[in-house]
């Protein structure tokens, strides 16, 4: 098998088994999170001079797309501060594993399971994106709201219900973690089948049973299963990118919806934040105005009408051309995998265009995080007007082409024939062409 089990490396194994390194990282992210809220609420109203704006929307959002997801799948979820207080309360301690019967909580309503609400949350982020991305107090209030919501839900519902079903970032990372190079799996299925206690399931904050894991979409890489397994039967594998994608895994309609919302979001964000259309930017920013409603309508038509419509046509034609007897629903669900590499690479390309030109803001804001005129490390006021370089433009082109190549491969593998894959390849090409035009057109 083309996997490298990281737990076979003694130092890595010790790092993963010990709860302290993860706790320390989470403590740092929690401190950063609280400081971000404070900076957003009490710092400068000028976004470029406020830690909340620069660190959330340039540093962290960039790191998530360029580092955490492509190289670690859902690794951010392992150190995310948002569910920490609720989880500590559920577990009855900071370094405690979850135990069977501890803080049972209610099960999340069946009708609300899946990625539907996460996709809805991401749509909301997009609708208010121009305001949130540029107004520090709004960013702070959004973060505070998410923090409180996650805590309250952890008191009512079991395990990480918020992360599993509501968190928009959880939806984003979960979707694209399927393409990531890290997975938690059992070493020997027979060992798990013979083990009656299921300590791993009891300890998992995500409610997963490692033996049943086929996809990394919902695994937050918290390593609790590894720590509590009494027979050392959990592996943390490095694997080829995109290992979850193909005919071997089963998918749901809500995953397709989430994937399409992500595609629409990156298109709209590219148009609003990178395009030359000032009126579009102003409309996206003027929340509640007539122009904002027109912008919102256009966004929603793209996310809920045009892209799903084109995707449905592609899946339907593919279903008709393919040899296998499947329903349209099955076809829509199964081809959702095509949207994963397509969207991931488009988001990375967008990030290269967006963040590289804005990265000059990051270091100066450390020197003056609240925009109060401090100069803690002597580099405040050194931000310059960023620019796209020929290299960054070329990288964007290569990334988009790479996404199209990868998506076409997945379409081909899922459909089983080139003929069956063609409609999905055509859909992917149209999307990629749109992104290409927005980024370098």
């Amino acid at each position: 098998m083309n996997r490298l089990d990281l737990t076979r490396i003694p130092l890595m194994r010790a790092f993963l088994l010990n709860r302290w390194p993860q706790f320390l990282l989470r403590a740092i992210t929690l401190a950063g999170f609280v400081f971000t809220i404070v900076a957003g609420l009490f710092g400068s109203v000028v976004g470029g001079h406020n830690f909340a704006i620069i660190f959330v929307w340039i540093a962290w959002w960039t790191a998530l797309k360029l580092f955490f997801i492509p190289f670690g799948g859902r690794s951010w979820c392992a150190i995310c501060p948002i569910p920490m207080p609720g989880e500590w309360l559920q577990h009855g301690g900071i370094l405690q594993p979850r135990r069977k019967g501890s803080a049972p909580g209610r099960r999340w309503p069946k009708a609300l399971r899946g990625n539907w609400l996460q996709a809805g949350g991401f749509l909301l982020v997009g609708l208010f994106g121009a305001l949130t991305l540029t107004t520090a107090s709004v960013t702070a209030l959004v973060l505070l709201g998410i923090f409180v919501l996650a805590f309250v839900l952890s008191l009512v519902f079991e395990r990480r219900s918020f992360c599993n079903y509501l968190c928009p970032i959880g939806g984003f990372t979960g979707l694209y973690a399927q393409a990531g190079p890290v997975e938690v799996r059992v070493k020997d299925a027979r060992v798990c089948a013979a083990h009656a206690e299921k300590t791993c399931y009891d300890a998992c904050p995500w409610g997963l049973y490692p033996l049943a894991l086929k996809s990394s979409a919902n695994c937050g890489l918290c390593m609790e299963c590894l720590r509590v397994c009494p027979v050392d039967n959990i592996a943390v594998n490095l694997r080829p990118w995109g290992s979850d994608l193909g005919p071997q895994t089963r998918h749901r309609l809500d995953e397709a919806f989430l994937g399409l919302v992500m595609l629409a979001s990156v298109l709209v964000d590219a148009a609003v934040f990178l395009g030359p259309w000032g009126q579009l930017k102003s409309a996206a920013y003027a929340t509640g105005s007539l122009s904002w409603f027109v912008f919102s309508g256009g966004f929603l038509v793209t996310a809920l009408g045009i892209l799903p419509g084109l995707y449905t046509i592609a899946a339907w034609v593919s279903m008709r051309l393919g040899a296998a007897k499947v329903t349209l629903r099955q076809s829509l669900a199964q081809y959702s995998q095509v949207l994963v590499p397509l969207g991931l690479m488009a988001w990375i390309a967008f990030t290269v265009a967006f963040a590289f030109a804005k990265f000059s803001y990051v270091l100066p804001v450390i020197s003056d995080p609240l925009g109060w005129g401090w100069n803690l490390i002597g580099i405040a006021g050194t931000a310059w007007v960023g620019q796209s370089t020929p290299a960054s433009l070329l990288i964007q082109v290569v990334l988009l082409a790479g996404g199209l190549f990868w998506a076409s491969r997945v379409a081909r593998r899922v459909s089983g024939s080139a003929k069956g894959a063609l409609p999905l390849v055509a859909f992917s090409s149209i999307f990629s062409l749109g992104m290409l035009w927005l980024l370098v057109g």
Binding site: L274, P276, G278, K281, S282, V385, S388, T389, R412, A418
Partner: protein
């Protein structure tokens, strides 16, 4: 995997065949990205462009000139202080409210370049962007060609009942 189930000499032949395709594919990618393309022969002219800058847009926001043109930009700030910084060119202007700033540069580099407001002018300032196109947009054309190659390559490598790349990725 198909490759592993073949006799050794067949597997080696398969590997060479695969490698040949990969090299050809990589060479095509490099050719598309870096092959020099001739610029259309146009006589350079003097261009005077008046750009009105207001929160958070330039008007006009999309400008097209020919390579070699001598471009004079007249920047007018209609509300607050605005700047004009052109990617790829060392060219920057700053205009006070109601005032005009003027500068000239020669459009030596071909391609599409963003210009940005260079003075903080409000919340959307980092996204106040315009576009200058000098000659044809070759990068867009290269991107389209690369996309076509990507599609052909993806389907070609996975052609038939077994995949050419089946030994590399699952």
């Amino acid at each position: 995997m198909i490759v592993e189930s073949l006799p050794p000499h067949n597997a080696t032949r398969m590997s060479w065949k695969r490698l040949r395709w990969i090299v050809l594919f990589a060479a095509s990618v490099l050719l598309i990205l870096f092959a020099p393309l001739p610029l259309p022969g146009t006589t350079p002219v003097e261009r005077h462009i008046r750009i009105e800058a207001s929160r958070f847009q330039f008007n006009p926001a999309e400008i097209q000139v020919n390579p070699g043109d001598r471009v004079t930009v007249e920047l007018v700030a209609t509300d607050v202080v605005h700047g004009f910084s052109l990617d790829g060119y060392n060219f920057e202007l700053k205009a006070d409210p109601g005032q005009t700033a003027t500068g000239t540069f020669v459009a030596k580099k071909a391609g599409v370049f963003r210009f940005r407001c260079a003075v903080a002018c409000g919340n959307l300032h980092p996204f106040m962007i315009g576009k200058l196109q000098v000659g044809p947009n070759f990068l867009l054309g290269r991107g389209i060609a690369l996309g076509l190659l990507a599609v052909i390559g993806a389907l070609w490598f996975l052609r038939g009942p077994s995949s050419v790349l089946s030994g590399i990725t699952p």
